[in-house]
């Protein structure tokens, strides 16, 4: 193993042990790893945003020759004047640094929130509300190829479970009497589905730790041989 990967393995192993030490209690090693992680990762995403959004989509489109040093291919495209708009909103956002004009930055936030409302409304209308109703419409009886009691019971459980689950979420109706009982069945359905979902994902979490332990074993077996 050459020097580079050997060094990276040692740094990775030490940082792994520092993070795991948090399970015992807070200590200087964890605190060091935490502050290191915050510094490296904040800068990492800033650099990614710079090279994948600001350069190609803002400056690259607004005035292509500006980014020729990094993206020569873009240099011959015609400038897109419409990119003035995001540039303007970017400047409005930065006005926060000027106390007197700080409230102008709300315009950039307003655009972001309007974007969230507009895109989420139609996406959830389509995939979460409408298509889930469509998929819930199923025959309550299973008779293809032959009548199956098991299949029918299951179909009933699914439809009635969904309906009672929805009843639990009613806000403007007192959960009393028959309505209250159906709502209780609804929370029971939700609790069973939460318990099942929790049990089902335990495996995925354990495999994360297995991966780290395999890395540490490789460090122990190969890390102590200094690359010649």
């Amino acid at each position: 193993m050459t020097l580079g990967p050997w060094l990276e393995m040692w740094i990775g192993a030490l940082l792994t042990l520092m993070i795991l030490s948090f399970l015992f209690r807070d200590n200087p090693f964890y605190r060091f790893a935490e502050h290191l992680f915050v510094g490296v990762s904040a800068a990492y995403w800033m650099v990614e945003a710079f090279w994948t959004t600001l350069i190609p989509n803002l400056f690259g489109k607004l005035y292509p020759p500006l980014v020729a040093f990094a993206l020569p291919a873009l240099a011959k495209n015609p400038p897109q004047v419409s990119r003035i708009i995001p540039l303007l909103f970017g400047i409005l956002l930065l006005l926060r640094l000027v106390p007197r004009l700080a409230h102008w930055s709300r315009m950039a936030m307003a655009l972001a929130i309007g974007f969230a409302a507009g895109t989420n409304l139609v996406r959830y209308l389509e995939s979460d509300f409408t298509s889930q109703i469509g998929q819930s419409i199923r025959p309550l009886v299973v008779s293809e190829p032959a009548f199956s009691l098991g299949g029918t019971v299951s179909a009933l459980v699914v439809v009635l479970g969904t309906l009672s689950g929805l009843v639990y979420f009613f806000f403007s109706k007192e959960h009393k009497g028959v309505f209250g009982k159906v709502s209780r069945v609804g929370i029971y359905v939700l609790m069973i589905s939460f318990g099942a979902a929790f049990g089902y994902t335990v495996m995925a979490r354990i495999s994360l730790l297995t991966g780290r332990m395999e890395f540490l074993r490789r460090w122990i077996t190969q890390g102590f041989i200094f690359p010649g």
């Binding site: 015992f24 293809e144 994902t201 335990v202 354990i206 297995t210 332990m213």
Partner: protein, 287 residues
């Protein structure tokens, strides 16, 4: 006794952390494996493949990228070994651009090593990657050679003996889709299996499996979920054909830490409830 149970009821978190760490490290270091019992949802796939007469045609898809190889690869290797052992005609293909390396790996690790006598283009064919997601299945439904005109080496499929008599998806006896997302098992059911009345079996990552349960058993005859599903198929294969024991137990080995960790968690849940019922909390609540 109740003092002990009381302490068990409020055990220090760190004891649990140590137990989980050991539950993962010991099986890893000792190479511990446990009997894996094949559940019906996986046994159905094995039995279906085992029941197919020699020469039946099986589509085996590798619709997953490199990041889910640890979960998906053991599944597709076990199914491929089983199909080749039964002398079935296997049609390997992928709808994922990042799926190509997985098909090549199958050629080296399984076909070349374990079945060197099998002839490409006659016993099996690697049709490589075709862009278009469910559109590819849709066109293969009515014209399979049209959807996959050339194999991964560039030969025209019409010249390959394995493609004789293959016009549409309906000409196949089984579709086994090993996938980790879109396009995947759902698309092969909706655009392939259902319309062509060809049985579909699936193998997906643990995260993807819950979303496919509603299709089982009517539109999906069986489903391998995560490493557990792969280990169950390997167990069924090795039980029926012991000669594959040495080469086909990759998932079973990696299930060691999983099984012990699950047992440790179950034990803590039971312990917590035993302490709860005998300990103060239950009695205080009752009086």
């Amino acid at each position: 006794m109740s003092a002990f149970l009381d302490r068990v009821g409020r055990m220090d978190r760190r004891l649990i952390y140590v137990a989980i760490a050991l539950a993962v490290i010991i099986p890893l270091v000792a190479g511990l494996t446990f009997p894996v019992i094949t559940t019906p949802i996986v046994q159905n796939i094995f039995d279906k493949l085992d029941s197919l007469p020699e020469g039946s045609r099986v589509i085996l898809t590798a619709d997953f990228g490199p990041s889910t190889v640890p979960e998906n690869m053991p599944m597709i290797q076990a199914v491929l070994r089983h199909a080749l052992h039964k002398k079935l005609k296997v049609y390997l293909l992928t709808l994922w651009a990042t799926g190509i390396p997985q098909l090549d790996a199958l050629e080296q690790n399984v076909l070349a090593k374990d079945f060197p006598d099998r002839v490409a283009g006659q016993d099996w064919v690697n049709l490589g990657y075709k862009a278009g997601n469910q559109g590819v299945i849709n066109s293969a439904f009515s014209d399979f050679p049209g959807a996959f005109p050339v194999d991964s080496k560039g030969h025209d499929v019409r010249t390959l003996p394995i493609m004789e008599g293959v016009k549409r998806i309906a000409d196949f006896n089984l579709i086994v889709c090993i996938a980790s997302g879109f396009p995947g098992v759902k698309e092969w059911i909706q655009f392939g299996g259902d319309p062509a009345h060809v049985p579909v079996a699936g193998g997906v990552t643990a995260v993807e499996a819950p979303l496919l349960y509603p299709y089982y058993p009517r539109q999906l005859l069986g489903l391998m979920g995560g490493l557990q599903g792969a280990a169950e198929y390997e167990a069924a294969l090795v039980k029926q054909y012991p000669e594959y024991a040495s080469r086909s137990e990759e998932a079973i080995q990696r299930m060691g830490p999983q099984t012990v960790a699950h047992l440790v968690i179950i034990a803590f849940i039971v312990l917590g409830n035993v302490a709860f019922f005998t300990g103060g909390e239950w009695r205080r609540r009752r009086t």
